[in-house]
Symmetry: C2
Subunit: 292 residues, 2 copies
């Protein structure tokens, strides 16, 4: 069974070496008018299936955000499962953005539900605030099923710094402390693939490139999942700080800028899926160029 | 519309002043044999409905742990919704243990799904690692719908200290820093009810009573949800540290010790629901006595 990190890196090479990911955050209010005649859950599902069709072959991965589905309860979660299945069938690596977290036996349940089923996503995001015994159950299931996880280290939202920048006497910040903790947990034998990366990655917001440089050193074996490109304000050059010099080590996510491309003036009159595909191509090209 | 903190305090008074909560963490492998002939999802749902029936009138609140349902995907989430509905119908305050977390627009989606629907739980748990703009969307929806939230501050698991005890130059620890942040966010006007408590509470593990004393001072307006009683190792006296001198300010949760009481030798031969009710009574009496 192939290590998740190796699978992801192969998928990136196959997608013309574009280390990018499209986030599926389907907001009913922003969908193409043609889809809005359906009930919200049916509409967001159809929209995601359309986006998957548009971006498969252009990008290596998608990241469905489960919150947009959970908003509609169990019915929405059922749509999430269909979207995950469709994306995997289309050959995309699927990163379920679920940010689950709990301890011991409870984390084990989440891990089985989100990484342990045949139809689970290829990887999920995990919140690491509970430390090793909140993360290890996810790792155990991921290792067993050839899947992966990305643990939140540094987030890109405005108030994150107020919490995560808390510093010790030597100036080390909390998120750096968490990064060291994670590097230890995620570097264990059996978790690292043939490319030198672990199936345990990290979420590293791209708002501050100098932080990404530092975290890159602290976590040499972690693939970084980098949110923040586009609407959230990070440029491709900002995101490039999360990569190693050889251009590997990270995957950059864009959600709204690609998903809702069709509502931009320059795509007026074109089918919405064409606009999404076009914007995904531009995103992939932009990231690729920034890494050269 | 009544403030959630006031509703919870009234429910505690009504339940013979027992500030306790039974956690619904249904593990198929541990269910009564009679229930195991059904498929797992049907069995865990039936078990939870039986526990609700057994503890209603004895304890003021239950805390379903969504991970045990999500393990089974959308079908499990549907069972979770039925359990929440049954508990509310039985007059119990329902705290959905979901530990959701994300930023801005995404947190908004979670908040609508878990606090904004007519059939949502009365309160949920939230992971606060993303800071104010990861917490505020939950507060906004809770304030609108008369619901509440409990933000993770200190967890009781063994490795929590390795992460959360990270200290600054003055010896202040990260979880204390987070507690101060939360006290500020949760004390805003409009959130505090007639009893002086906010609809924004905190999860404070009970493993170390001296920590609870300190956090009690840092967060005077937060009701503490205290896990750790029973199987996790905390005694009623340990948990008492989370309360104010007047005996208010916290609610203590026990899960496995109550749920699986029927498998204890002393309950041999008795119906499983009677064992659960008996153990819930003992738990409530134990906590009440520790507060006198």
């Amino acid at each position: 069974m192939e290590n998740f990190a190796d699978r992801l890196l192969s998928a990136i090479v196959k997608a013309d070496r574009s280390p990018v990911c499209v986030g599926l955050d389907p907001d009913f209010a922003r969908l193409p008018e043609a889809l809005k005649s359906a009930a919200p859950v049916a509409a967001i599902e159809r929209f995601c299936l359309g986006v998957i069709e548009a971006v498969a072959g252009i990008v290596p991965a998608v990241k469905p955000q489960v919150a947009y589905f959970e908003r509609y309860g169990a019915l929405g979660v059922s749509a999430y499962e269909k979207v995950v299945a469709a994306a995997r069938k289309a050959g995309l690596i699927v990163i379920g953005d679920v940010k689950r977290n709990d301890i011991g036996s409870t984390a084990q349940q989440y891990a089985e539900g989100h990484l342990g089923r045949d139809d689970s996503a290829d990887a999920i995001t995990v919140n690491g605030y509970l430390g090793a015994d909140g993360i290890n159950p996810f790792i155990d299931v991921a290792a067993r099923t050839g899947r992966g996880l990305f643990v939140l280290v540094r987030t890109s939202n405005p108030s994150a710094a107020l919490v995560q920048d808390f510093a010790d006497a030597k100036g080390k910040r909390f998120y750096q402390h968490l990064a060291e903790h994670l590097a230890g947990i995620g570097g264990r034998s059996g978790l690292v693939g043939r490319n030198g990366y672990s199936c345990v990655g990290a979420v590293v917001g791209a708002t501050y490139p100098q932080e990404a440089f530092l975290l890159r050193d602290l976590m040499p074996q972690q693939i970084f999942l980098v949110p923040g490109y586009g609407v959230q304000g990070a440029s491709a050059a900002d995101c490039a700080a999360a990569f190693k010099r050889d251009g590997t080590g990270a995957i950059v996510n864009a959600s709204r800028s690609v998903l809702y491309a069709f509502s931009q003036q320059r795509y007026a009159g074109r089918p919405w899926q064409a606009a999404v595909a076009e914007e995904a191509k531009a995103f992939a090209a932009d990231m690729k160029q920034a890494l050269q």
